[in-house]
């Protein structure tokens, strides 16, 4: 809408080429050559940032994501400092070993002690939800990083090399695409339960990351192919830059726009997969908690203690909701051409 009327840089270059980041880099390179400093210009990133800020839903998403992330990172420590318990503290007093409703003290009166109530063992649900958020966020971020690393390297090499190698590599991706991954992941996690909770987490990162790099590889390859015949690559090659350096220093940074967008949308999908596996009892295992495993616990006590499901479930839904809005907003901001009208 409004952002379409932006002054169009596209006219400067051949129209069929995906334009954007390389202009920014080119400007910077020239700037560095001339003055030795980075020139302040209206770069693609700055334009994108402005467009993002104009999108109210994306800003809302960004705000909620930040709030939830900060709460998850700092919250458990604060609760421990203030109230003296963590997500796994079980009360000493045997009469407290049951599930209290939100804001209820044992005598049934209003109390600030447990704003989200307690679970069957008397553990504070707020502390559990925040600690679960830590694990869920960590799994989502690291698994996305794994998929980024594999996807970018694979896609960039395939796209830059081209020819037979490219054909073969993409053929492999096609084949992997049609495999029923989830089934294999379930088998893997059910049959090879790790010895320690930490090893279990590592298994999750690996399993989830290994599943989600395929689309990333395709996106990167497409970008690299559209970039590799441009003059700045030719210039790099002419000055004797090595192939790996051309790929990772010159081509990949220019292909980052779509990659960032897709990575933002990968985070919620990985988070959902982690929760799905934890719900089935295959992901994060006790004593560790994640939003998925909390929801699984809560679902079992649904009829009597609905708050055990509602708080982790709603927190997670809110996070996914905001991440999706942020991802959509980023896509519109970084790639106005494909903006959904």
């Amino acid at each position: 809408m409004a952002d379409i009327e932006q002054p169009d840089k596209r006219q400067l270059v051949e129209p069929e080429i995906h334009v954007g980041p390389e202009i920014a880099v080119a400007e910077r390179d020239v700037g560095e050559l001339i003055t030795g400093e980075v020139l302040a210009g209206s770069s693609l990133w700055r334009d994108a940032w402005r467009r993002l800020l104009r999108n109210k839903l994306a800003v809302f998403g960004m705000f909620v994501v930040l709030m939830l992330a900060i709460a998850s990172v700092l919250g458990p420590a604060i609760i421990q400092r203030v109230n003296g318990y963590t997500y796994e503290s079980i009360p000493r007093d045997a009469t407290l070993l049951k599930s209290f409703a939100p804001f209820r003290a044992p005598d049934g009166k209003f109390s600030w002690a447990h704003p989200m109530g307690t679970d069957n063992a008397g553990r504070d649900i707020l502390a559990r939800v925040l600690s679960g958020g830590q694990i869920s966020l960590m799994v989502a971020l690291i698994a996305t990083l794994v998929s980024l690393l594999i996807g970018i390297s694979y896609g960039a090499v395939a796209g830059y090399t081209g020819g037979r190698v490219d054909d073969l590599m993409m053929r492999i991706v096609d084949v992997l695409y049609s495999l029923p991954y989830v089934v294999l992941v379930i088998v893997l996690l059910a049959l090879l339960p790790a010895k320690t909770p930490t090893a279990q987490l590592a298994e999750l990162f690996f399993a989830l990351g290994a599943v989600s790099w395929l689309t990333m590889a395709r996106i990167v390859r497409g970008q690299i192919i559209s970039l590799k015949n441009q003059d700045f690559v030719l210039a790099a090659r002419a000055t004797g830059v090595s192939t790996p350096k051309i790929i990772f220093r010159h081509l990949v940074p220019n292909a980052l726009g779509p990659v960032i967008v897709y990575a933002t949308l990968t985070i919620p999908s990985v988070m959902l997969s982690e929760a799905f596996l934890s719900f089935l009892g295959l992901g994060v295992r006790p004593p560790r908690v994640s939003w998925g495993s909390l929801a699984a616990e809560g679902a079992q006590n649904l009829a009597i203690y609905p708050w055990q499901l509602i708080f982790p479930g709603v927190t997670m839904a809110l996070m996914l909701f905001s991440l999706n809005f942020l991802g959509d907003g980023l896509r519109d901001a970084l790639d106005p051409q494909t903006k959904k009208q």
Binding site: V183, V187, F276
Partner: protein, 306 residues
């Protein structure tokens, strides 16, 4: 076209082989086995059982047997459910999952396409915003949260539908599971339809259709939908994979006797023949379905040629 289909059919066979072999290796590599459960068997009994299922033979003999079983699609008897063959279990549980899945997907197609088309036609009105917000909610609320919440509202509070029962289709018992399963597809399909329709509605052939005096209804239904639904068709391929994971969760929430529920139990029980049978079955389904989707492109979009 014909050569393309033939090539795709031929490649299914090695892929199936890879999936089943990988699963078998995983089952084998995993520490422990079916008999290392809570109930310790007398060594003599365990040996007899191993003899019966051929588990005491060297690994290459067993692997050959697995491949032979795959070729005939007969994985023998389940270890856990004694006296029942894997195929019997498959044929008993499949209808449950299939009925649930198909009902949910049809529901999603109807609701999703309607929502998406309306949103595209009334772009930037409250109708558009409302349906896109609903769609975003559908994507963001995980089915294992939505399902129990629906149970809480409609079974435990309003007593409209049973919380965990299976009477097939049509019955009251399918409403909540199908709704839970279809929520995310409604959302995806609505979004895909909307963006597909928006793109198509601006294309030249729609302008031509309008210019030659067709009514808006004819333009939309006969011309725009066909092109606008292309993204929905391509979504149907990955949708099946999602649908399988979705039914696993939904069947567990509502305790339905479906394939997904049995699959998870088989994995936890290390019921080797049952795991292999279900994995092989799911793999075949997914591979064949992807093939069908690729072929159907060519019929919907005449520009695509293989």
């Amino acid at each position: 076209m014909f050569r393309f289909i033939l090539r795709r059919i031929i490649i299914i066979i090695p892929m199936l082989f890879v999936v089943v072999s990988l699963t078998w290796v995983l089952v084998r590599l995993a520490p422990g086995n079916f008999y290392t459960g809570e109930k310790k068997l007398a060594p003599a009994i365990e040996n007899n059982l191993r003899e019966k299922y051929g588990l005491n033979k060297p690994w290459h003999v067993q692997y050959r047997k697995v491949l032979w079983n795959l070729a005939r699609f007969d994985f023998g008897d389940s270890l856990k459910y004694e006296g029942q063959s894997v195929n019997q279990i498959l044929w008993r549980t499949l209808p449950v999952s299939a009925v649930l899945g198909v009902t949910a997907y049809l529901l999603a197609l109807i609701v999703g396409i309607t929502m998406g088309t309306l949103a595209a036609l009334k772009q930037n009105t409250w109708l558009d915003y409302a349906s896109m917000t609903v769609a975003m909610l559908g994507i963001s609320i995980p089915n294992f949260v939505l399902g129990p919440l629906l149970v809480l509202a409609f079974s435990l509070t309003l007593y409209w539908f049973p919380p965990a029962l299976w009477n097939g289709f049509p019955s009251k018992s399918i409403v909540l599971p199908a709704l839970t399963l279809s929520a995310i597809y409604i959302a995806y399909i609505a979004r895909l339809t909307r963006s597909g329709m928006l793109e198509v509605l601006r294309s030249d052939y729609i302008r031509t259709a309008r210019a030659k005096g067709l009514t808006e209804r004819q333009v939309v239904i006969r011309h725009a939908l066909r092109g606008g639904l292309l993204p929905v068709v391509s979504f149907s391929g990955p949708a099946l994979a999602f649908l399988i994971t979705g039914t696993v969760v939904v069947e567990r929430i509502f305790a339905l006797p479906g394939l997904g529920n049995y699959f998870i139990n088989a994995c936890f029980n290390r019921d080797e023949p049952l795991i292999l049978g279900i994995v092989a079955f799911i793999a075949i389904t997914v591979l064949v379905f992807n093939l069908l989707v690729d072929i159907s492109y060519a019929f919907i979009d005449p520009r695509i040629r293989y």
